[in-house]
Structures are given as structure tokens and as C-alpha cells.
Symmetry: C2
Subunit: 271 residues, 2 copies
């Protein structure tokens, strides 16, 4: 049964709207994603909405119909609404035809099975949700396992992170832990910890031999990797800097390193 | 002579604030940058503020003093103010100690001297100022000449673009033109036009032989390169996609391609 909601004062709508804030996400254990394409990709990887909200003009679309059917089959709530309410929900000027609330998954380290991917990203104190989302999007593109967030990193379930991930949040793993817990876990199994650094005993990133599973360790946007974390890496790599700036955007640096590692793994596979 | 401004109602402050909008930038021919480090790097590359605004607590800093001296020597206005006003100006919760307004440079294609760099970025209908700024930052890092913006691309002088460029806007060239004008200009001199594409007659980006000067052609965030533009490229390159997503963030893709080209140019230089 489809529920009609046309007023922003509706309590279900207000609960959904609260998911745009961390407090609301924690309270409900849900997060928002938006767009017919992303929600459809999420469904294809087994993520069924707890709440699906769609604009009335999109109801007839076969992909919307598939989302409605899946939501109802899993006893979620399918909500017929308006573009105006979708705009109010996501803040987007041109809101998608659908948005959906999903259960926040367990982000404990125990969910990371390191053998399932040749490379993982570890981010220390990452602050910008756009950077995190972009990193998840790149992880998807290169077949990296996902992102392990250390210390006071940003919330991977914010609308901004989910949006920038372009579906990567649904296909990649995300863990949230502390540096101490991560290092303890890392050394219980195989893994090459490769830090991206600007100084210290760094080598050119192309000269480093990446070995799977690699854990690519990226520091905070402003301050980079803390010295005590850099000291615990198996190698520190650096990209050539030709200009006056001394660093790259962290999501950009991550992508360049991920593609280098991927390229090395591929050429090994062909030998 | 230093001018004190402590009220947001001050007409000079209001003019500076208007530079956060495109209308104000067009009216005054000025744009804003923020932060002691970026403004100092700008000064080192010959960019002197027309207006310099600094918080009173930062006045004693030698870099602030250097900026004040340079501004006054060039008959600009140095303004002593407060963190609160800097926050109101830039919208940042933790505003920098200084912000400055600079003359918007001429962005005609005639200012692009293609021989001065081995590679340039051309962006078609680029919409996100954060992406543009990140591309300029990466251009600086790899020694690319800058970004040529085609058609309805975003404003390179918005605070968001300037901020993401981390000074790259001051060290790289930016041009704004149409596709037609760009193609006409391109073929008046040497230049390999390499489009980033997802389909069509693409080759793996590592298999392509980049030749300087390369013009790396990136499409719009949503729709990629239009077919008629792709058809005019000398080559179309693609990055391997292993996951469910079929594309990368445009600033990320640009960086991966720029580093590949840079690496090829470097290994040629060593042969």
C-alpha cells in the first residue's frame, strides 16, 4: 500500500528530513540516498529501502515500480509525494524523482574481509564528506574494497558523502575505528601499509612495488599523515610536485595511487 | 594608511561582500581569495591585492605585514578588521586571518601560450566550481598550463573555485571560450587533442602516446563529452572501470590522466 505525503509537516516526512543531520541518523539508524539511478543500483546490490519516497510524476517509471515493489515486499514504506517535498528533503534545486532511507550498516572493522580486494583505503581524520564520497566512487571504479576511516573522520552516511559516492557507498565497505584498533587489526593478517606522505623517507609512487592486500594510508586534508602513523607504514610514497603547491586534493591523490597500484597488479597478472 | 572597518554596513565591506556573487564580481572586475598562505603565494607570483582585509590579531604577522606593504605600494586599500567580519565575508566558520580582492584577469584564449606547458586541460560545460578548483590545483602540481573552459562552464573566480584551487588559480592560466572558438584556435598550432570518453573508439589511457602539447579534453560531470566534440579529438582514452559505477569524478579522472601524461613525458626525457 502506497502512502501519500504532500505536507512537510507530516511526521514521517519530518523523520526522513531529520536524516540529513547526524543526530537524526543516529536516532533512527537510517541514512538517505537520492536519485533513481543510485537507488536502483543499490537495489541491484541487495539494498532495499526502509522508506522510499517518489514524486507522483515518476510513479509510472519501471525502475520506480521495481523500487516500490521491493520496498513493499520487505515491509518498508513506499511514499507518493511531490518534487517540492523531494527538494525540501534533499535540498537539491533539481531533486531526483526518488529518495530512499536505508539502514545504516555495521561499520566495525570485523566486517572488513581483507582478502576480498587487492587494495583498501585507510583515511585518517578525513574531514570533507565530498572527499570521502569521491574516494568511495573511485574505489568502486578500480575494484578497491572500500574505506577504513580512522579517528575523527567525517560521517560516511551524510547526504553529501552519499551523493559524491555515486552509489559507491552501497558497493564498497566502510569501517569506522581508531588508529590503535586499526593497527592492532592490520597486523593480525597480511597487508602492506603504504602511506602517502610529502616528506620523510618517501619514494616515488611508481618505484614502489605494491603488494596485495595493500592498505593505502591517506592523511587529513590539512595536516597529512601524523608522524607517528607514518612511522608505522611499510612504505611511504610521494607523487612528483612540479608547481608551487605542495600537495594534491586528498581524493585526487588517492585516485592516482589507486590507479598506479591497480596497473601494477594488472601487469603482474599478465606476466 | 590602514583603514579600519568593523561594521558589515560599511560600503567598502559591502562591495567586498558582493564579490561572493557573480554579479558583484562582474560589476567590480574583482574576485576574492582567502587565507594568509594563498594570498602570500599569490603575491610571490606577482598578484597584488586591490583590497586586503585582515583581522586585527593577524596584523603583527610578518606575512600580513608583507601583504599590507605590497597592497599600499600598489595603491590598493589595506583594511584592518575583525575575525567576525572575515567570517561574514567568506562564510567560513574558521575564517583565515586575511582575505583579498584581486583584479579578474583577461581570460581570452589569446592569453594561452601553448608552448609554455606540455599539457593543458580543456573542460566542456564544467558545472562544479569545486571540481574546477581541484583541477587547477592538480594542474599546478603536475606543471600543466591551466584550464580552458568551454561553453556554459562555471565561473573560475567564485570563492568555491578559488578555495579548491589552493592557489592554483594564481599560478595557472584560465581561459573562457566557446567550443567553436577553441577548435579554430587549436588548429592554428601544434596540439594533440585527447578526449576522456567512456565509449566510442577509445583506447586504454596507458596505451595512448601523449605528445606535447597535449590538450586533455574533459566533458561535463553528468553527460561527458558531447559526441560532436569527441569526434574532433585526435584520440579518445578511457580508464579501466572494475566496479558497478561507470565513471569517475571529473577532477579525479583529470588527475589520473595528467599523471599518466606527465609520467610518459618524463620517461621520454630520460631516454
Amino acid at each position: 500500500m502506497i502512502t501519500d505525503i504532500t505536507s512537510p509537516a507530516n511526521p514521517v516526512f519530518k523523520s526522513l528530513k531529520s536524516l540529513t543531520e547526524k543526530k537524526g541518523r543516529r536516532e533512527h539508524g537510517l541514512f538517505l540516498a537520492e536519485g533513481l539511478r543510485v537507488c536502483t543500483e543499490a537495489l541491484q546490490t541487495g539494498h532495499v529501502p526502509k522508506y522510499l519516497i517518489f514524486s507522483v510524476d515518476a510513479e509510472g517509471h519501471p525502475l520506480t515500480q521495481a523500487l516500490i515493489a521491493a520496498t513493499e515486499a520487505a515491509h518498508g514504506m513506499a511514499i507518493r509525494s511531490t518534487r517540492d517535498l523531494l527538494h525540501r528533503l534533499t535540498g537539491k534545486d533539481n531533486p531526483g524523482a526518488v529518495a530512499a532511507a536505508y539502514a545504516i550498516p555495521d561499520t566495525g572493522l570485523a566486517n572488513i574481509d581483507r582478502g576480498t580486494a587487492p587494495i583498501w583505503v585507510v583515511a585518517e581524520n578525513l574531514k570533507d564528506p565530498g572527499n570521502l564520497g569521491t574516494m568511495l566512487r573511485t574505489c568502486d571504479a578500480v575494484g578497491a574494497g572500500g574505506v577504513i576511516l580512522l579517528d575523527q573522520s567525517c560521517d560516511p552516511f551524510s547526504l553529501e558523502a552519499v551523493r559524491a559516492s555515486m552509489g559507491g557507498l552501497f558497493t564498497r565497505k566502510v569501517a569506522q575505528t581508531t588508529g590503535d584498533e586499526f593497527f592492532a587489526w592490520l597486523r593480525t593478517g597480511p597487508g602492506q601499509l603504504v602511506g602517502a606522505a610529502l616528506d620523510g623517507h618517501t619514494i616515488d609512487y611508481r618505484a614502489h612495488e605494491f603488494a596485495a592486500p595493500t592498505f593505502l594510508f591517506m592523511g587529513n586534508e590539512q595536516s597529512g599523515l601524523p608522524a607517528e602513523y607514518a612511522a608505522r607504514c611499510d612504505a611511504l610514497v610521494k607523487m612528483p610536485m612540479k608547481g608551487t603547491a605542495d600537495s594534491l586534493n586528498v581524493a585526487v591523490a588517492t585516485a592516482v595511487l589507486l590507479y598506479e597500484a591497480l596497473n601494477q597488479f594488472e601487469s603482474l597478472a599478465h606476466k
